[in-house]
Amino acid sequence: MTAAIELDRVNLALGSRRILEDVSLQIRPGELVALLGPSGSGKTSILRVVLGFLAPVTGVVRIAGEPVSADGRVLRPPEERGLSMVFQDLALWPHLTVAGNLDFGLAARGVPRSARLERIGTMLSRVGLTERARAYPGELSGGERQRVAIARALVLEPKALLLDEPLSSLDTPLKRELMLLLSELLDEHRVPGLYVTHELREAAALGDRLAVLEAGRIVQEGSLESLRSAPATPFVRVLVEDFP
Amino acid sequence: MNARACAVVLASVVSLLPACRNRSQEVVVYTSVDQVISEPVLRDFEKQSGLTVRAVFDTEETKSTGVLNRLVAEAARPQADVFWSGDPVRPFVLIKRGLVAPYVSPNAASIPPTFRASDGAWTGFAARARILLVNKNRLSGSPMPRSVRDLADPRWRGSTAIANPLFGTTTMHVAALFGTWGEEQGRTFLQALRENQVRVASSNGEVKRLVVAGEVVFGLTDTDDAQEALAGGAPVEVVFPDQEGQGTLVMPTTVSLMKGSPHPDAGKKLVDFLLQPEVERRLAETAAHLPLRAGVQTPPGVKRASDFKAMQVDYARIADEMERMQPWVKSWVGL
């Protein structure tokens, strides 16, 4: 089975600093991989490499089997990769309404107007924001903005969904609510995904598989149990220890 | 949105294009005659002929060279129809480069032959003369200077002035002296001026100012500057130098038709207009320019060229001399 996203021995350096070292990761169709790691481990960089904003120095990035970055070059620019991302600070466009935010990507991809309206309507009702369609992001609460960000990413029916610590700014009750929504949506749409976080709780709840990133290397991959029973490094041990 | 913005930009740019302008009804003139003097004359022409005049004027600081440079720079595609020069020598730069179209105007016949080219490459009229402007108060008893050589007279050390010989009519005058006296004597004279600590002002207007203020006793300048000083009530006197010797240098303003210009017929009309005796009379009145023709009425204080001894020069030769002496004068000035 071809992987939805594949990183094949990717190396990334910025100047003399090594960011990613020999990273190989596969995200199979329908699965959500949770990438864990402390800040500064290179989590956001992996996302930017997959999206095409950074080119790996060596190694290949493939999407659905097709190489999109190789030989130190970006072969396919970000707008042609068919991926979606929920950014850490959400990156909602403040001058567009909620509906407008969802409409932007669809219009850019040439979806005809009637189809766009239908898809937006369906998605908004799914996340419970139909009445807020005409509101601007500045007028929404934190949780509502989060839902818009997720809706915007999924309405595009992407090949894969990337999430960069999407719940980090929320308080616990809200977090739980949104985690539930996310996992439902991901199941419904059967979109493969890469979920980056430093919170084991979220990773364990949402991910089908965990991967741990430490100082630019993937040090262990597998289920939570496998990590618990045989932690590969002291960091992994500490990580899974905290989880009851 | 981008397309709309482009359309707006294009539309406004197009609106600038002279598409709606009636090109056949206009004439373009570049002039180094002061705008204050030339503009009214050109307006008169507009009224009389019904043509629109588009003019480019020169500034004091770049007297006669700014406009000239532009004419040369635009040689590949001439923009000007007529060049009305404030002195008779600059046109030769253009004539040499083949930018002038000879045209003998019917109105040129009454102008004395020394002041025009026989083939009509340039025609002179309404002139200025190079004179000594003397501050009577500062003179206090000393004899009145009578010759340009007096500028180098040690009696007047540090109290005389000339304008920068790299610009304007002073260039011409120095070249005329070089031509008449010979190069060696010319250089000696300039060296003597240096030794006599002559003040090199930036323009003839500045020389006039220095004399009027009494900062120097006398200076070499033009008749129209002198007339200004007199009109302003300054205690000055005008001396036409070298009347017993070589004569006073006369510099007519000249007009030339430009080759390959956009509106040659309109240009000819303008040339004919400028060469009318009436215009000479007008310029004598408004700008103290000396008429070259005999019999033109002048206001008091303004002479006619026939009233005094004029220096005999070949203006074409002066042009050559100017070019020859240029490097040396540049070093004399210090640039």
Partner: protein
């Protein structure tokens, strides 16, 4: 692309270079041009230092102190920047010249010297420092300042925290003032002071017309320009200047206390110095009947100024937007274009003019050359950098994520620019447009060389008539230029206060 306007003239001059290669030694081997260059550099340096000396404290006072009528002082102080310095020189001539209001022989002598040039240029360009410093201080994070004010006296806070934080603004303003001062032509010519650009101009003059030589003479300016650019990269570079709004001015200012009367007096003096020449010009014009005679002498000139300026500003804003965004986001090639536009700003006007004539005076381009369009082309070449820098600094402030999100959603580069970057930074683009427009209306040196016959802008008309026109009329024309500028600024201020743009 549209970089044609800036590139071609410089390229055409470069093409002439091989032909005059032999003369390089001859031209540059003489001592005089280097002396002049040194002199001009020294002059510009003095102006820059003086501008900083006043601009930094004034900027601080305006941004963060409780000086009364701060905004008014700022506005009045800023105004002369948008006039051609030649107008200011003319005004001071009427104040301190021989026949001036408080003039005498001695004051005239001081005025018509290097001191006069420094005086006028300092007054004209100090607002650049004041404004950049003030804007930078207004954008400082409030918590940084508050943390310091908890432990130190206000003046310590000012000198140790605030002013160092404005270092990029200070460096940038120094660079801008230096560039403006060194390429200024009209004021030194008016005060009969020899400077380097005038020497270049003179090389175009004399009997022999030698544009290649003129360009050769201008060559030494290239390393200077590159040095300025390098300084800018090092000290200013990727930092931005808050054009976020003037709210900071009301945010708990530092109390001046005992220093208040001194500061007030100083501010008042400055405002008087800024406005005096303009008022005297008005008085001269009115007294001599210059104002009543104005309609006869104005002709089409104000219209020419406004139209050519507006069209040029629009194109400049568009160019500045695309290039400014590229520069802010470090897109490849943007740096060299940025450097090129900076070079076109510093290079002496005569050199630029000659190149433009050489390129655009061809049969196929007559429609442009003989009309106002050539002015537009000249303005674009010279002033694109103004909009570029303004817009780039605004874009630097805005979150990059928003553009990345758009890219991920499938929007190509142009769509992103038009739908996301432009709406979010509209204020910055309008500011760039306005600034470019003001620079075009104020321009003299660039236009004077190739303005279309009969279609001169107001500044050129003023300059050519100054030589021998009646003083009152010349003063009247200067007043017209002042009013024109004030009108443009007024409209600009209105546009910025309009809600639509604030959204």
């Amino acid at each position: 692309m549209l970089v044609v306007a800036a590139l071609l003239p410089l390229l055409s001059l470069l093409a002439e270079l091989p032909a005059t290669a032999g003369t390089v030694v001859e031209v540059l081997g003489v001592r005089r041009p280097w002396e002049l260059l040194l002199y001009s550099t020294a002059l510009a340096a003095v102006v820059t230092i003086a501008a900083l000396a006043v601009g930094i404290p004034l900027g601080l006072l305006i941004a963060r102190s409780d000086l009364p009528l701060r905004r008014t002082v700022w506005a009045l102080h800023l105004f002369p920047l948008f006039l051609p310095p030649f107008v200011l020189a003319l005004g001071w001539f009427h104040v301190l010249g021989r026949t001036g209001l408080i003039g005498a022989e001695s004051t005239a002598r001081v005025l018509f010297s290097a001191a006069g040039v420094i005086w006028v240029l300092w007054l004209a360009f100090t607002p650049v420092c004041t404004s950049l410093v003030a804007l930078s201080l207004l954008g400082v994070d409030a918590s940084l300042e508050e943390a310091a004010r908890l432990v130190a006296s206000p003046w310590r806070v000012a000198s140790r925290i605030l002013i160092p934080s404005a270092r990029p603004a200070i460096v940038l303003s120094a660079i801008v003032v230096f560039a403006l001062a060194i390429s200024e032509l009209a004021v030194p010519m008016f005060f009969r002071v020899d400077v380097f650009p005038a020497a270049v101009f003179a090389r175009l003059g004399g009997i022999d017309y030698a544009p290649g030589e003129a360009f050769t003479l201008a060559l030494p300016l290239l390393p200077l320009a590159l040095l300025l650019l390098a300084l800018e990269r090092r000290f200013v570079g990727p930092r931005s200047f808050a054009v976020a709004g003037l709210h900071g001015m009301t945010r708990e200012p530092i109390a001046l206390g005992a220093w208040r009367p001194v500061a007030c007096a100083a501010a008042l003096l400055l405002v008087v110095l800024d406005l005096a020449p303009l008022l005297v010009l008005g008085q001269r014009a009115a007294r001599g009947g210059g104002l009543t005679a104005l309609p006869r002498w104005l002709g089409q000139a104000p219209w020419n100024s406004l139209v050519s300026g507006a069209v040029a500003a629009t194109i400049i804003a568009a160019l500045g937007f695309v290039l400014g965004h590229a520069a802010a986001r470090r897109i490849r090639g943007a740096t060299s274009l940025d450097a090129l536009s900076m070079l076109a700003f510093i290079i002496p006007a005569p050199v630029l003019g000659v190149g433009l004539i050489a390129v655009w005076n061809r049969s196929w381009s007559q429609a442009v050359y003989g009309s106002l369009a050539i002015l537009v082309v000249g303005f674009i070449a010279r002033y694109t950098v103004v909009a570029l820098r303004t817009i780039s600094s605004v874009i630097l402030q805005s979150a990059r994520d928003l553009e990345d999100a758009a890219a991920t959603s499938g929007a190509g580069a142009w769509r992103r620019l038009g739908r996301i970057v432009l709406p979010l930074n509209a204020r910055g683009v309008v500011a760039g447009w306005l600034l470019a427009f003001l620079f075009c209306v104020r321009d003299l040196e660039t236009a004077v060389l190739f303005y279309p016959a009969g279609r001169e802008p107001l500044t050129v008309r003023l300059f050519t008539l100054e030589a021998n026109g009646p003083q009152a009329v010349v003063a009247g024309l200067a007043v017209a230029q002042v009013l024109l500028t004030a009108a443009v600024l007024g409209l600009g201020a209105l546009a910025f206060s309009s809600r639509r743009i604030l959204r």
